[in-house]
Symmetry: C2
Subunit: 138 residues, 2 copies
Amino acid sequence: MQTEVRELLKKSRLSITDSRQRILDLFLRTEGALSHADIEKRIADGIDRVTIYRTLQVFEEKGIIHTIPSADNSIKYALCKEDCAEGHHHDNHVHFVCDSCSKTICLDHVHVPDIKLPKGFYPRESNMVVSGVCSECL
Amino acid sequence: MQTEVRELLKKSRLSITDSRQRILDLFLRTEGALSHADIEKRIADGIDRVTIYRTLQVFEEKGIIHTIPSADNSIKYALCKEDCAEGHHHDNHVHFVCDSCSKTICLDHVHVPDIKLPKGFYPRESNMVVSGVCSECL
DNA sequence: GTAACTGCAAAATATTTGCATCCTT
DNA sequence: AAGGATGCAAATATTTTGCAGTTAC
């Protein structure tokens, strides 16, 4: 397994276990976001389902991955870029879900625009998900 | 039960049943969005859980309500305004989730801005959820 | 009367928790 | 050695499906 994976875990002060390495490695090798089910499917020789739940939770708390909201009861997770820190996400980019291949992609360079809210509303965090057709499915 | 409820159902060519009237009435009386669980809790003398699932599904198909994506595996539903039609939602407004009272509110007058996507990406629909503090929780 | 809707039971899924064991540091 | 992580079993919770009885039109 790559050194990169171990470095990432070390940076987050997480012990370097086999499951964590394999799950994080999968994220690094995957373009686009992964759901719990995706991970279960794609890690051949099984990590326990419960361990996946716990790993995703820890990774999210540590700012290694962030969640992408969805309207179909299936949260997806994607790697955070450098500017995420423990307990403090800055996944301030637009997410794209392809209607055709149903991949979910972080458009890291497309920022969520600031919104003028009505009087009395104070924003903390914005999330934007655009669906349509991705560049590979034209 | 109000005439408004029956009119709405009639307009969508749905038969006017007790469950549908009560669920739709709840939406009309509620500010903000409702999850399946909310509905179950707030309709005192129980409608079957399964009926609630099926009713929400039909309402969504008919353009009476729309879903609001979330990052916690709990879809919320909110009434559509006039411009939603069968199989064709235009809930093109920003949704606000209050961190304090955790209400989800449709900001009907705040439109989701158009986004400039990278080459090759074609948008069909955008969703935006802003969280923070709402005007009642200041 | 007929098609559509509902409730119940049950199946299928998904998520959480407790605990004994194993692994990392 | 000690604390944390994992797997397993089991408890909960959520969603889906089939079907028989009921209701709207």
